[in-house]
């Protein structure tokens, strides 16, 4: 199996040799302040908790994931999701890369399973190593040159599992007037948001991008998480507040908080988080998976 000879995940990477030392276009330097990283840490922690069940369900139905022993978790955020994965799949070795130093510093403080190596670095074409699976969960939208990543993956990964946000499958019911207004006014290309371009958030060209790098689309699915009921609404409340704070903490006004609280006290309130998952197989890659159709 590709990469299995590396032993402990991340053993082949020394911190000082990590990508990011030389900024490339793809590395898209994200340099949050410690305060902003703290806000972002909260958001992605809650996101991992909220979407864990739905995303895990996708992975459990993915032959590529089930067969993999080595995984590259690209753009791992604070590692909250990856640590859960590593604990759930102790026989898989997961190398996680997060380019933002401040966010990585927060994530590195959390106890991680022994099969999870969490490193401060981003993607760049010179990245070495071979992996059974490239896992890119909610991260492609931050990469202006996704073809470069796909090309690299075509040479280094037997499969790719890509998750993008699915705005069409996401909703807040009933609508939150203050929050909606704020989000609609947000400049998503701002570095504080990682340079994501709003029109790219659906990333509908993902299959074409990976096909151009030799991958074949093995399947896709939309996973929807619903946060509702007396246990889901408090999480939805916190998630919605955190999602505003990472964009503009000064927008947290008492009016917005009142609106959020009233929303979370509404028995009918529901937050839906949609995610589109793509499973790609690399038929050209030297992987045992290639014959496991």
């Amino acid at each position: 199996m590709i990469g299995s000879a590396y032993g402990h995940p991340g053993a082949q990477y020394a911190s000082n040799a990590l990508p990011g030392a030389t900024a490339s276009r793809d590395a898209a330097p994200i340099e949050r302040s410690p305060d902003h990283a703290r806000l972002y840490d909260r958001l992605v922690t809650m996101q991992a908790e909220a979407q864990w069940r739905a995303d895990l369900g996708v992975l459990l139905r993915s032959p590529e994931w089930l067969a993999a022993t080595t995984v590259l978790d690209l753009g791992a955020g604070n590692g909250a999701f990856g640590r859960r994965l590593a604990a759930r799949f102790p026989t898989k070795s997961i190398v996680a890369l997060e380019p933002d130093a401040a966010l990585h510093a927060i994530g590195a403080q959390a106890a991680a399973p022994p099969n999870y190596a969490y490193l401060n670095g981003g993607f760049e074409p010179s990245l070495e190593g071979f992996f059974d699976v490239l896992l890119a969960r909610g991260v492609l939208m931050y990469m202006p040159e996704r073809r470069s990543l796909a090309k690299w993956a075509g040479e280094h990964c037997a499969a790719a599992l890509i998750m993008n946000n699915a705005p069409a499958a996401s909703s807040v019911r009933p609508k939150l007037r203050h929050r909606t207004k704020l989000v609609s006014q947000t400049d998503w290309s701002h570095p504080a948001d990682g340079g994501a371009v709003k029109r790219d958030r659906e990333l509908v060209d993902t299959p074409q991008v990976f096909a151009s790098a030799g991958f074949t689309l093995a399947g896709s699915t939309t996973a929807v998480t619903e946060l509702s009921g007396s246990r889901g609404r408090p999480l939805a409340h916190h998630y919605l507040r955190a999602s505003v704070e990472v964009v503009d903490s000064s927008a947290i006004t008492i009016e917005l908080l009142d609106e959020l609280f009233e929303w979370s006290e509404n028995d009918d309130a529901c937050l839906r988080l949609g995610a589109t998952w793509y499973r790609f197989r690399n038929w050209r890659g030297p992987s045992g998976l290639a014959g496991a159709s």
């Binding site: 908790e49 007396s230 246990r231 916190h238 006004t253 908080l257 009233e262």
Partner: protein, 268 residues
Amino acid sequence: MTPTPTSFADAYCRMLSWQLELLWQHELPILASAPAFAAAETIVDLGAGPGHFGRRLAAAYPDKQFLGVEPDAAIYAVGARSPCPANYRFVNAGYESVTGTHDLLFARLVVMYLPDRDALYAWARKHVRAAIVANWDDAESSIEPALPLVTAAMEHGMRTRADELATTLVGDRNLSDMPAEWAAAGFVPTASATLVADVSEPEGLRIYHHAERMSVAATNPEALSRPLLDELYDWSLDPAARVKLGLAYHAMLNPALTSPGLAGTAVA
């Protein structure tokens, strides 16, 4: 859609709803294992509030008949908005108006608010075969780190609105002698259990955050400032935050009315 809380009763009932989310899974096993509860067919839910807890019990035990009594008209009105299971009758009344003989008196987090407990004991001697009483156990309850703004806001509300809140929130919480009191009234204490609900997991902290926000909304709504809400929100996301809620459960039998089935179920 639930309206914005416009009254003490509304906010208080919402607080109770969140509180129930925290405690239900911890309290149900204690009740389920209590012989007096298991054997009871008719149960008086004393000081039922909006009836949240009683409704859930009734739904979980469709073979038992519940009578929820809540004397506060405003709180009853909030509770009456929600439908009741067929085996839960919810009335706006005090225990004094309840007649007949019932298998069990269930008094959860309510005895402390009664100004004259002797009157309750005298009524209970005549009308119930057994009693299960649950009170807060402050010695087993804790919150870390402290929430100074939230605490100050609620204390201020309790001081300045003491008259308004007297029958609902201001009471004698020193109830450590509860079994002895019931024994002096002629009941036989059969079992006690201390419940310590550790609700410190992220989900529990978020629910507690909502419950505390509603506690402030009930007692001192003017204090719901941005700093206070930030304190609560930051606390609920603090990995070091801890909440333990202690409750003391006591079971008593009434020798004057105890049926053979109940009399044989005393536990140590």
